[in-house]
């Protein structure tokens, strides 16, 4: 697990290693440890969760499968050296949005909705459209593979959280404020819509 990456750096010393990141007590060594195994494990879990989301009859089972996907994706973000996004994903998505979904599922759960048909009568057209889309993706990746740079970016001196914060409160300050306004509007909208009497 990527936690072991940090443990390895943490235990093995803080002097100049070519893959050292950070300074002082926050120094870490970014050595890949069993990367391939964990990549296939986590992406397999994510895709398995995705398949379960769209095929389960019971909405609560779908929600739990989505939680599995979200946690697997958080692990993938850790492998991509994005610990802050992984933490935000766990707190907001798995711990916030999914709780919201589960609440609403419990409120609108009907027994007879499980016994009806699960897929609507245009499912053939839907699957064909998705197949066409996947063909498009395949074509894009095959032709565009030469465009990616071969070397990954050398990580800067600051920790990842610091880099994200510098950008978030520097270049993207305006977007940040608008996002907070958006959340305010969403809160008010959700409360108004779910009230019995406005």
């Amino acid at each position: 697990m990527p936690a072991v990456l940090y443990a390895a750096g943490f235990q093995a010393g803080r002097d100049a290693h070519p893959m050292t990141v950070g300074t002082g007590f926050a120094a870490r060594i970014m050595e890949p440890v069993a990367t391939t195994f964990f990549f296939y494990l986590l992406s397999g879990l994510a895709v398995l969760g995705g398949v379960l989301v769209i095929t389960r009859k019971n909405a609560v089972h779908s929600a739990l499968a989505l939680i599995l996907t979200l946690l697997a994706l958080a692990g993938l973000y850790l492998m991509l050296y994005a610990p802050f996004v992984a933490g935000v994903q766990i707190i907001l998505y798995a711990g916030g949005i999914m709780v919201l979904f589960l609440f609403v599922i419990m409120l609108v759960n009907l027994e007879h909705s499980e016994k009806e048909d699960q897929f609507n009568h245009q499912w053939v057209a839907g699957v064909l459209a998705a197949a066409a889309l996947s063909g498009l993706f395949l074509a894009t990746y095959v032709t565009g593979r030469a465009l990616f740079p071969q070397r990954v970016l050398q990580l800067p001196e600051q920790s990842n959280t610091q880099s994200v914060a510098v950008l978030l409160y520097g270049n993207y300050m305006f977007s940040f404020e608008i996002a907070s306004l958006l959340l305010l509007v969403a809160i008010i909208g959700a409360v108004v819509m779910a009230k019995k009497r406005i």
Binding site: A3, V4, Y6, A7, A8, F10, Q11, A12, G13, G22, G24, F25, A26, R28, E31, V33, N58, V60, H61, L64, I67, P83, F84, A86, G87, V88, I90, I91, A94, G95, G96, M98, V99, L102, F103, M106, Q158, S159, N160, T161, Q162
Partner: protein, 421 residues
């Protein structure tokens, strides 16, 4: 692996990982995890006995006295009873979700301990985002509660789960704001950069020579107070325990669970209590730092404070021997008296062991951390014995209308104080 152990014992290094290679440090990570499991189990058993005894003494009665001397074997009897009880699954319950809910709650309660530091190098790992990880994993425990309530397919658990999860989500926000205030204070150290790593936060307190609870008085204290209240609500303990109160909801979301599954919920609740107390100690009370490390500094004071662990155990052994003398002299009490005397002897031996210099140096950090967390556990039990229960609407209004504005205010004032002071 044996070489790694031998290398650690002969070297003077403070942590096992420095003495070996990467595979050895993997092994030591697993050793730490095992130690945490064992320590938590012992702590939960001790908490069970302590809670019943302390509550009883606060209510002017004696508590369990029969099972062992002064009821010391009561938790073991409880554990045995729960293990051999019949495991009932309601027929209309959703089998997989019913099975998974206690698992989820226990896993999230234990996973928080990955980032909890018992010393400057005594943690399972030191993540760069330790605080974020802790907040995320405790927000995952809400999901376990919701699953438990829904899967039981019955009214009381469902209502209990909805109320409990609404309460936990509301107080998570206040907790997060208090935590952000503490993290903000770490950026005021001489190097100028803050950190989200738990060990980094305690080291920042060490570098700034002040525990964050006393920094920018009274801002640190108010932030600590918000966290202390929110953590009691987060773990569904008195006075915020309406969702699991027996007179209201027949035990709430774990009504339909029996035997070993219920003991998993119980284990998860106490582990979560210890986990959030450890977070509070790390963020505000200086983690493993000894008290008065600034005013009373120097070698002699270090020596005096380093004798305190041994003295604590000797004091406990003294209390055991005193109780042994007060035991009834009837022959049917002979085994109990002998047991209590043996327990006191074990405590005395541990206390004397803690006076030996090599052990004394290594045990300092762990002792101070554990002592502070034990203080928090006593506070939890004290709250349960003292405060009446909040009604649910009062509970939610306190979380949203009182703690949240105060949290925002403390954050803004801490930022202003940090810039201008």
């Amino acid at each position: 692996m044996l070489d790694a152990i031998k290398a650690y014992l002969v070297s003077g290094s403070r942590t096992p990982g420095e003495a070996g290679s990467i595979s050895a440090s993997l092994v030591w990570t697993f050793v730490y995890i095992l130690l945490i499991f064992l320590g938590l189990s012992v702590a939960v058993i001790a908490m069970n006995w302590l809670e019943r005894k302390i509550l009883a003494h606060m209510q002017v009665r004696l508590g369990p006295m029969r099972v062992g001397p002064h009821g010391l074997l009561q938790p073991i009897a409880d554990a045995l009873k729960l293990l051999i009880k019949e495991d009932i699954t309601p027929t209309a319950a959703d089998r997989w979700v019913f099975w998974m809910a206690p698992l989820f709650v226990v896993i999230t309660a234990f996973t928080v301990f990955i980032v909890v530091p018992f010393g400057p190098t005594h943690a399972v790992t030191d993540m760069n985002i330790g605080v974020l990880f802790m907040l995320g994993v405790s927000s995952l425990s809400v999901l376990g509660v919701v699953m438990a309530g829904w899967a039981s397919n019955s009214h009381y658990p469902l209502m209990g789960a909805l109320r409990s999860s609404a309460q936990m989500v509301s107080y998570e926000i206040a907790m997060g704001l208090a935590v952000v205030s503490a993290v903000l204070m770490t950026s005021l150290n001489p190097t100028g950069t803050g950190t989200l790593s738990m060990i980094g936060i305690v080291q920042a307190q060490e570098a700034q020579h002040v525990w964050f609870v006393f920094k920018f008085f009274p801002l640190g204290l108010i932030a600590f107070f918000i966290f202390a209240v929110a953590m009691v609500a987060e773990t569904n303990r008195a006075p915020f325990d309406l969702p699991e109160a027996e007179s209201e909801l027949t035990a709430g979301f774990h009504t339909e669970y029996s035997g070993f599954r219920w003991s998993l919920f119980f284990l998860a609740e106490y582990s979560a209590m210890i986990a959030v107390s450890s977070i509070a100690v790390t963020l505000w009370l200086g983690g493993w730092l000894r008290p008065f490390s600034d005013w009373l500094s120097g070698d002699t004071w270090d020596l005096v404070f380093s004798l305190i662990p041994g003295l604590t155990f000797l004091f406990l052994a003294g209390m055991c021997f005193y109780s042994t003398r007060r035991m009834p002299k009837h022959p049917s009490f002979r085994i109990q008296t002998a047991g209590l005397a043996g327990f006191g002897l074990t405590l005395a031996v541990i206390g004397l062991l803690l006076f030996v210099p090599p052990v004394r140096d290594r045990v300092q950090d762990i002792f101070w951390f554990t002592a502070k967390v034990a203080g928090f556990m006593y506070l939890y039990i004290w709250y349960r014995g003292t405060f009446p229960r909040y009604r649910f609407d009062q509970l939610m209004s306190v979380g949203w209308k009182v703690l949240l504005p105060i949290g925002i205010g403390v954050l803004v004032l801490t930022a202003i104080a940090g810039v201008f002071l």
